[in-house]
């Protein structure tokens, strides 16, 4: 390869690159630059994980938002303008999530953002929001740092979280504080921040109620664990009375199935499956619940459960969702549905789409949502609403298991409240 050839190929390559970039430009700028005024639709950009093992969570988010938008548009929209949705795949990768947010706002022309499944993605999108200056309503990412650090401490007012964060996991302590026969707890937790914080919050809260309780073992499962037998058998070697488990979605189903195989439920008093109230997980263990394989020892919560609360709003939502999609809504569907209604409420109160005005209008507002009244806390933009814990059981009213024997603790009691004390995010 002679030198001249290299140079020629450089030049011609650049030409090729220029052509590609040029056509790219033509295309990219096509969608951009239209002023979103007058009767133009209000654009709402969402993102969630729609590929990979957790693809259902992103799909649910998209489905909930679509339902809300269809309902609102059927009634004439917001301020006389229709809503328009674009939903993208965040791949559970922070870099992709940031790129999506930038694309949605600066090219597609989104007026509001919502969604985001992974905590890492949320922590990456949050700091970019002031630059984009659009509100983003987070519908899943559980990390407490999103609202505690980025909103309450650093003052990023563009962040709102409509879904219960990792605080929800401390509920286990409230649910079992009076069970005097459960003294030895073991944890099977996700080997990332969510698992560490959930386990630490649970331990902290439990210790407050019950100084006599011991935490005898903890096993840590990285993302994408396909076999939990080793984790289960490692913690069972310490003969615990209760197990606190955080793996979610398909991993949760697998964990419970493998625990059954290893005879765990003959030995323990109670198993807490943190996000076990999610629809996909309940469906996954439906057969075992029906066959009473868990012997009534399986407890769970979620960030919303389709059979709570028993209100007309919730019934209407679940029915509309089932009619539209042929499935039950899980918590990411409910929170994206409520996010769209929050946008509607905020814009109508502010009579404007301006970020600062809508944010101010939403602060301290209480919304009527399927999950019950949601209060948007001013200090950290966290929505407060109550989700109970319950025993996983089958009732004749629903084709899939539900949570029963509900223990209802008001959210303001078990959520963390400002000013926030730091919580350890380590094992």
């Amino acid at each position: 390869m002679a030198r001249g050839i290299t140079r020629r190929s450089l030049i011609k390559g650049t030409v090729a690159g220029g052509v590609v970039l040029g056509t790219g430009l033509g295309r990219v700028s096509m969608g951009y630059g239209k002023p979103a005024k007058g009767k133009e639709p209000i654009r709402i950009g969402g993102q969630g994980a729609t590929s990979g093992a957790h693809a259902d969570y992103g799909w649910q988010m998209m489905a909930g938002a679509t339902l809300a938008i269809e309902e609102i548009n059927a009634k004439g929209g917001v301020l006389g303008r229709k809503l328009e949705l674009k939903f993208m795949d965040e791949e559970l990768k922070p870099a992709t999530a940031v790129k999506n947010a930038r694309y949605l706002v600066t090219d597609w022309g989104a007026d509001f953002l919502f969604g985001v499944d992974s905590s890492g993605s949320a922590m990456a999108v949050g700091p970019v929001l002031p630059e984009l200056n659009k509100l983003c309503f987070f519908c899943h990412a559980a990390t407490h740092r999103l609202t505690e650090e980025l909103v309450a401490e650093k003052g990023i007012k563009q962040i709102f979280r409509m879904v219960a964060p990792v605080y929800q996991d401390a509920l286990a302590a409230w649910a079992f504080k009076d069970a005097s026969n459960i003294k030895r707890w073991a944890g099977i937790n996700c080997d990332y921040e969510y698992g560490y914080v959930a386990w630490n919050l649970f331990k902290q809260t439990m210790k407050k109620f019950r100084p006599d309780v011991e935490f005898v073992a903890a096993a840590w499962a990285p993302f994408w664990t396909m076999d939990f037998s080793s984790h289960i058998s490692a913690v069972m070697a310490e003969k615990p009375d209760g197990i606190f488990a955080t793996p979610w979605a398909g991993e949760g189903v697998m964990l419970l199935r493998q625990a059954l195989l290893l005879g765990v439920f003959d030995k323990i008093q109670v198993w807490w499956q943190a996000m076990g109230g999610s629809v996909d997980l309940l469906e996954g263990i439906s057969r075992e619940v029906e066959g009473n394989k868990f012997q009534g020892k399986l407890w769970a919560t979620a960030r919303y459960i389709h059979n709570y609360p028993d209100t007309p709003e919730n019934k209407k939502f679940v029915e509309a969702f089932r009619k539209r999609w042929g499935k039950f809504p899980n918590y990411s569907a409910e929170s994206s549905y409520s996010s769209i209604y929050a946008i509607k409420a905020g814009v109508e109160k502010a009579q404007s789409l301006e970020t600062a005005k809508v944010a101010a209008a939403l602060e301290g507002m209480e919304l009527k949502t399927p999950a019950g009244p949601r209060l948007i806390r001013k200090e950290d933009h966290q929505a407060l609403y109550t989700v109970p814990a319950g025993k996983v059981m089958k009732t004749p009213d629903y084709p899939i298991p539900v949570l029963g024997d509900l223990k209802v603790v008001p959210a303001k009691d078990y959520f963390r409240n400002p000013p926030f004390e730091p919580v350890a995010a380590t094992k």
């Binding site: 050839i5 020629r8 970019v128 921040e193």
Partner: protein, 327 residues
């Protein structure tokens, strides 16, 4: 030669276009160009190994991540963008020098597997060493620090446009440097090693030393690309080091063509724009992308640059195409 003059003109036009871009485009396009330049630097360094030395590294994302983390760490303490980037490049080069000594003793698939294992070690470190790396949440709140000399002058990097020009300048500089290098005897020897390692050995060339130098350079370019990311996104996270990220420069380089200098650049632009385009219209973007890769390997093996030279230019005029056949 008229063809070459036309080429130069077009390179100039492209540069002018990039310089003027923020004046007439929206906010999104400059961001896309920054991302493309980052990917292009990443891939051009990688191609020094693959195209010029014949070594397929499957762990380049490790050095990319080291550059990103080092730059982020420094910016969190000292708010100076050039220092941050320098720290990133330095850290990446040192890591590449250290791991390179161990890697270049091996060839072919063993080299690829070894780099894969080192890349994944870096990934697990980023994931597990929470005190330093922030674990799965990574490092957040990294400032887009200003460029300047304290007390003399300071240019704020706050607006995206400013950062765009910074990245453009750094990239053009790095690409020119690499172009000089590619025309030096050093790269001729690398090619000699690629074509026949034994012959190079017999001619008394210290093969490993050359390979190591190429490895360090590739690592430095990966780290440079990586260190441009934290000021852009204000976050760095472990997926930057994952093997699927190491696959990106491979893909991009093959797409553009491994035997041409500009191949990785063209590949990066096409790759990025293509993905950006597909994800807008379908949630099934993986299948579109996968199919494109398969078609590419089966039909356009030489890469787009050579395809363009042979088919498009060849069609436009025999004069231009002559001699550009091999590249």
């Amino acid at each position: 030669m008229p063809g070459e003059r036309m080429g130069k003109l077009l390179v100039g036009a492209l540069l002018l276009f990039l310089v003027l871009l923020p004046l007439f485009s929206g906010r999104y396009l400059p961001y896309v160009v920054v991302q493309i330049l980052v990917l292009a630097l990443f891939a051009m360094g990688f191609n020094l190994l693959l195209g010029y030395t014949g070594l397929l590294s499957f762990g380049q994302a490790g050095f990319f991540a080291i550059g990103a983390y080092a730059c982020a760490k420094l910016l969190l303490v000292v708010p100076s963008l050039p220092l941050g980037v320098a720290a990133g490049v330095l850290a990446g080069s040192l890591a590449a020098a250290f791991l390179g000594v161990l890697c270049v003793r091996h060839t072919r698939i063993y080299f690829s597997m070894l780099t894969l294992s080192f890349g994944m070690m870096i990934y697990s470190l980023a994931w597990k060493w929470r005190e330093v790396t922030g674990g799965d949440d990574g490092l957040v709140g990294i400032p887009r620090a200003p460029v300047g000399i304290p007390g003399l002058f300071e240019i704020s990097m706050g607006p995206m446009t400013h950062y765009y020009y910074f990245v453009l300048a750094v990239s053009v500089g790095a690409i020119l440097l690499l172009r000089r290098l590619v025309r030096s005897p050093f790269v001729l020897i690398l090619k000699g090693i690629r074509d026949s390692e034994n012959r190079a050995c017999f001619s008394g060339i210290p093969v490993r030393k050359y390979k190591l130098t190429a490895f360090v350079l590739a690592g430095a370019y990966a780290a440079l690309a990586g260190s441009l990311v934290p000021p852009l996104e204000s976050t760095v996270t472990p997926p930057l080091a994952h093997w699927t990220h190491s696959a990106e420069p491979v893909l991009v380089t093959l797409l553009g063509g491994i035997y041409s200098f500009s191949g990785p650049m063209v590949g990066a632009a096409c790759f990025y724009l293509l993905k950006d385009f597909i994800v807008r219209f379908t949630q099934y973007w993986l299948i579109c992308f996968g199919s494109i890769i398969v078609i590419l390997v089966l039909l356009f093996r030489g890469g787009l640059v050579i395809f363009f030279q042979e088919k498009v230019l060849g069609f436009l005029g025999a004069k231009t195409a002559r001699g550009a056949g091999r590249g």
